[in-house]
């Protein structure tokens, strides 16, 4: 019988952590891109675009991520798209991330004083030009801390992908537990891996936020 030592558990979990990181990155980068598009729709002048964007946000913030994963896993194959656990998880997490990031960023855009909009409008800038040259560069500064903070939520969210069979840290821990019968050690180590991934981001987010507040007080 194969014996699972502490080292084997750690090594296998570390290997699985690559997939947690890959899925997090994919969801965060793609979700950021979609989120930016939704942000533009949400702040546009067209009533329909605004409505569509806020419906998207309501839907994905108002339902459990696990249900979104199930629906994308089973739903995509209904319309004839071949789905693997990886693609279903990436799609669901991307849409989920985009909804939250769009809402976070909207708050930042609305935090820019109205005078900035008026001033740029008086320079005959179009709406997109205003966003591109005046509002977004300023909103970016206040957007960074909460965005980094949300990255932590994305990493934790990838744990749910284990339920539709994607092998990342959580799924790997279950598999190793089934082979080694050491749930306490394995799940404890899995928690430590997540902690190692998330804690630096949390601390970074808090640090940036504090620095921003100091800058604002001047």
């Amino acid at each position: 019988m194969i014996q699972f030592g502490l080292w084997d558990i750690a090594r296998n979990l570390a290997l699985a952590a690559r997939w947690t990181i890959a899925l997090s990155l994919a969801a965060f980068v793609l979700g950021g891109a979609v989120g930016l598009a939704i942000l533009f729709a949400r702040t546009s002048r067209s009533l329909w675009l605004r409505r569509a964007a806020s419906t998207h946000i309501e839907l994905f913030q108002g339902t459990p991520l696990l249900m979104q994963l199930f629906l994308s896993f089973f739903g995509l194959s209904l319309v004839g798209i071949e789905t693997s656990a990886w693609s279903a998880a990436a799609v669901a997490l991307t849409l989920w991330t985009s909804a939250f990031l769009a809402e976070i960023w909207r708050g930042c855009v609305e935090g820019i004083p109205g005078g900035q909009w008026d001033a740029s409008a008086s320079l005959a800038m179009s709406h997109l030009q205003q966003m591109r040259h005046v509002v977004l560069p300023q909103a970016l500064r206040i957007a960074i801390p909460p965005t980094v903070g949300f990255a932590v939520q994305v990493i934790k969210g990838t744990a749910l992908a284990s339920i539709i069979g994607f092998v990342e840290v959580s799924k790997a821990s279950t598999m190793i537990t089934n082979a080694s019968f050491k749930p306490f050690t394995v799940y404890g180590m899995a928690a430590l891996i997540y902690l190692a991934l998330c804690l630096p981001l949390s601390m970074c987010s808090r640090h940036l936020e504090r620095r921003l507040h100091v800058a604002h007080r001047d």
Partner: protein
């Protein structure tokens, strides 16, 4: 052949779904209330008690919970704790996980409210000869909760969505019921679609309930 959606076939499973909803509601009410109680204690320990070791301990707890996924916490409690001699049923493990998880988030949320209470209020209470604990209970807590009530409501909704994960340890809540029906009827999309709709409705109900509770308890004026 294209797939035909069929929601009618789900009707025979309505009572299963209803039972699932029942447990989800139980989890969020019992777990939610206990979790917020833990959060109040945590906020007191972190921002108001004079015991630095307790504050540091609560700080570690908050960081540990907020930086690990709920799923891993749940699996650790249900599968890991028995080897430390603590054996829990699925529902109890789910409840404990929810309380531990929400407790950490609620600690941070309520602490933010506590910090927003004006200093003069606390000084006034001190000048009346109140102890630190009395100050916290009689002077600080209510205005603090008023400030963070919306954030606390959102966190409860997030925890309710998180409770979907409890199906993984066979706690028979809404998602468990949905998965069970799925395995019987093979109508995966329809079942999960309906379950998602139920979650959406539950979230609205929860927000409404918290608003009413807030009006009755937190935003009540002293007569």
């Amino acid at each position: 052949m294209t797939y035909q959606l069929d929601f009618g076939g789900l009707l025979q499973y309505a009572d299963l779904l209803a039972k699932g909803v029942g447990l989800t509601v139980t989890l969020i009410t019992v777990g939610g209330a206990s979790g917020v109680a833990v959060g109040m204690f945590g906020a007191w320990a972190r921002g108001f008690s004079r015991m630095s070791w307790l504050s540091a301990l609560v700080g570690c707890y908050v960081e540990l919970i907020r930086n690990t996924p709920f799923l891993v916490q749940l699996l650790f409690i249900f599968f890991g704790l028995p080897s430390a001699g603590i054996q829990l049923s699925a529902v109890n493990a789910a409840l404990l996980a929810i309380v531990v998880n929400l407790g950490a988030y609620a600690t941070e949320i309520i602490r933010a409210g506590v910090e927003a209470v004006p200093r003069s209020q606390i000084e006034a209470a001190a000048s009346l000869g109140m102890s630190r604990l009395q100050m916290f209970g009689h002077v600080v807590l209510q205005p603090a909760l008023q400030k963070i009530w919306p954030a606390l409501t959102s966190q409860l909704v997030i925890v309710m969505f998180g409770s979907a994960v409890c199906s993984q340890i066979a706690a028979e809540e809404l998602t468990f019921a949905a998965s069970f029906i799925q395995s019987r009827s093979f109508r995966a999309f329809e079942v999960y679609f309906v379950a998602t709709g139920i979650y959406l409705a539950l979230a609205l109900l929860l927000r409404q309930g918290m608003r009413l509770l807030g009006q009755a308890v937190i935003f009540r004026r002293a007569s």
